[in-house]
Assembly symmetry: C2
Homo-oligomer: 140 residues x 2
């Protein structure tokens, strides 16, 4: 049975777009995620999945895929729904947080990079959560 999570991710995404807000997702990076490594920090990456930033976005029941530009270069992104730890509006932090699957959590520590992200689209999830954690409700 499909969990409620992909439905909730799509719901918050649509809410953001309808309200003119910018949907961001926080992703726990592991071997199953395909994201630009130079923007991964502490095993996580935050991605702008607004229609302006993410093209050919498909928010499926198991996988989120899109194409996005990083430093002027288009990259294909692939993110298992289980790796998404939050979705929220950049402008006000409203959204939802999720417990990430254990497999993603365990391998996340191995993916850390020391690079400081200077992203056009992604932002540090730690910057975000300190200001807006109170808006997020953890779903188990």
């Amino acid at each position: 049975m499909v969990s409620t999570k992909p439905y909730l991710l799509r719901a918050i995404y649509q809410w953001c777009v309808d309200q003119g807000l910018t949907p961001y997702i926080a992703v726990l990076v592991d071997a199953e995620t395909s994201v630009p490594a130079q923007y991964v920090k502490e095993g996580q990456i935050t991605l702008n999945i607004s229609p302006e930033a993410a093209h050919q976005l498909i928010m499926g029941d198991d996988l989120i895929t899109c194409s996005a530009r990083f430093g002027g270069v288009a990259q294909s992104l692939s993110i298992p729904v289980g790796n998404v730890s939050a979705i929220y509006a950049r402008e006000n932090g409203h959204g939802m947080a999720f417990e990430v699957v254990e497999a993603a959590r365990q391998s996340a520590g191995q993916e850390e990079t020391g690079d400081e992200p200077t992203p056009p689209e992604p932002t540090s999830p730690t910057d975000k959560s300190s200001g807006s954690r109170s808006h997020l409700t953890r779903i188990k």
Copy 2:
């Protein structure tokens, strides 16, 4: 700005229908709700809003409306989104709970009826929540 709540209600509804489960909503009854009074218990009513039970269902941003049969008689229901305290699948209790708006909460006590519901569609929300509360995550 529209809250995330109507988006989340629609998401859980669609999840239920896609999984072959029966979506129920728990509603705090007040002057703004139009539901059959004989099935209201302790200021609340639980309604089956599956496609089989609720016809012409519209889950709007502000209002949920549909037509449903009670004791063989079709009735038009109108429920402000703010009065919905939970949406969940009858079969397994999975879904979401919400803080109801203060106005609905305050007036709910005035709407109590002592009738025992013997509903074809609605069930007592207290029967449900005792067994499945752990599945519901309260959204503020």
